[in-house]
Symmetry: C2
Subunit: 353 residues, 2 copies
Amino acid sequence: MASEQILIIGGGPAGLEAARGVADLGYKVVLVEARERLGGTPISANYAALTHGMRDASEVMGEMAAAVTSNPLVNLRPNTRVTGCSGSAGDFRVTLETAGKPDAVEAGAIIVATGFDHFDPGRATQQYGYYQYDDVLTLQDAEAMLKEKRFVKRSNGQVPERVCFIQCVGSRDRHIGNEYCSKVCCGIASKQAIEIRQLLPQCKVFIFYIDMRMYGYWENEIYWPAQEKYKVNYIKGVISEITMKGDRLMIRGEDTTMNRPMEVPMDIVILSVGMEPSQGTKEIAKVLGLAQNKYGFIEVPQASLDTVATSVPGIFVAGAAAGPKDLDDTMGMAGAAAMKAAGFVRRKVHAVA
Amino acid sequence: MASEQILIIGGGPAGLEAARGVADLGYKVVLVEARERLGGTPISANYAALTHGMRDASEVMGEMAAAVTSNPLVNLRPNTRVTGCSGSAGDFRVTLETAGKPDAVEAGAIIVATGFDHFDPGRATQQYGYYQYDDVLTLQDAEAMLKEKRFVKRSNGQVPERVCFIQCVGSRDRHIGNEYCSKVCCGIASKQAIEIRQLLPQCKVFIFYIDMRMYGYWENEIYWPAQEKYKVNYIKGVISEITMKGDRLMIRGEDTTMNRPMEVPMDIVILSVGMEPSQGTKEIAKVLGLAQNKYGFIEVPQASLDTVATSVPGIFVAGAAAGPKDLDDTMGMAGAAAMKAAGFVRRKVHAVA
């Protein structure tokens, strides 16, 4: 007997949007979230403003969570993991575990929305001294400080005079195995650069990059204002080493536009770390038997431009579980996955063509 | 009385995917296409291979069109334009015109999928001599030649020895009013560069760029192979002028990595033209009363990360009608728009919460 219920795994932007969509279409949802709280990485990593529109992340994610928690068709399961799955398309039997207690649910279709982890700059790029120097941050460290509207040196609490971003940490790097581009780091670094300049108008901000991938709207909405209104300094260059000189960081590298070596002092260095598949994404791929690509993201076979089908019929993927995505990508995929999962269940249950 | 029928305007990738989605959810569709044939720009502009996967465009679009034309819930209206609209969300009354003959349909919701036009390089970048020199092409000219597997100089039918792409023609350019990045041109130029090298292994291929925006999967699926396997030469540089020298084109500009002027001969120059709103997009915005952004694309207010809502309730947008999009973006938006339009109609008709 086919089930009309749809299981959605992950309560971040993709999972929340998919849950809202499926419920709007009149189908029952079981929404599983490993954490206590909904909202995914924007909440757990204390994001400040989200693009487009630079709205407060807590506010936006709060609206999205409210749309789901208030919907009688959504059965919300926080603090829960998926530990087993049997059956097949139209008739999955899934084992959940909440605080050590197992439970079984039926699902006609499944949407995986288990997201990404930020690249850990201690793993393979130790030359940047992330675990050695207090004032070397990652994008998410900076994001949390910007959310608090208090952007100071962690080493001594002083307001920085010079801040720089180093792009492509953990991305476009065969040495560490991540040849892909993480897609959003150029935009997020530029967004943070604007926020720093708004908060600290005296502070000089630099972004060292290979290519500024401000694709589409990022170009006119973020990149032009960053340069013209906020005077962010973009320098095409490669940073090879960070050391200390007195109480300041010293970055060494090459300005590849001017073709000359650089050695410049900075108060804070922010590493623009990329996306990797989350632990939850890697686990769920095994539990559900989903093919993964060489980086560990959920594989999308891409038949006839289908962006959300996985290798298993009846199981769909949305958001960064399938590879680096921006929020626009994530919302689109979540809507598409909701539509396809509901359409799939409808065909199975009603046996329509 | 609310209508359960959904009107979809445009039969390209976005409109076809939205139509398939809406019908899969069990709602009736009226699919309006201005041309005789479905498939949108990939068909009308004779695209060769589509990314991901480099599958033949005719084959992929044929599959998508077949899924729609064979569906009894889809009322297909080729050679048809939308000329009027009254009523409001849930109860639109829309005037169609087929071969001069008007007709009225009802719609509970509308999805606009009217796409983009390629930037016309004769309008404002006449320095590149597109209308002057036979061997200066646009991306879509090159695409049509690659589809025929015959890539020769239009001037004399000879096989080219040196081909180059000039990026950002009609994009990232305040002078012509298009500050935005057109998002896909870096990827499409790189894809074509690979196809040229496959077809003509003796031909040298160059790409002159500002930033190579090979975001996300384009990096590892296209950019690395283009450089390593296909030996495409990427040169950060600005081309200011194209002239003739004998029967060859001569391009002049500056290599901004080496900081030196360049003057190099080419047999074929391909202008990587960007996206502008299509005529159909500008017309439909007026007919339906939709807000447009400063570039003429359909404005998306982006409330709570909603990527497909327009300024008018009950009217949604998918694909490049809303700004430069790649095929992944387009498919995601189409799925999301199908889901939202169907959910919207369901709430109106069944008066559910």
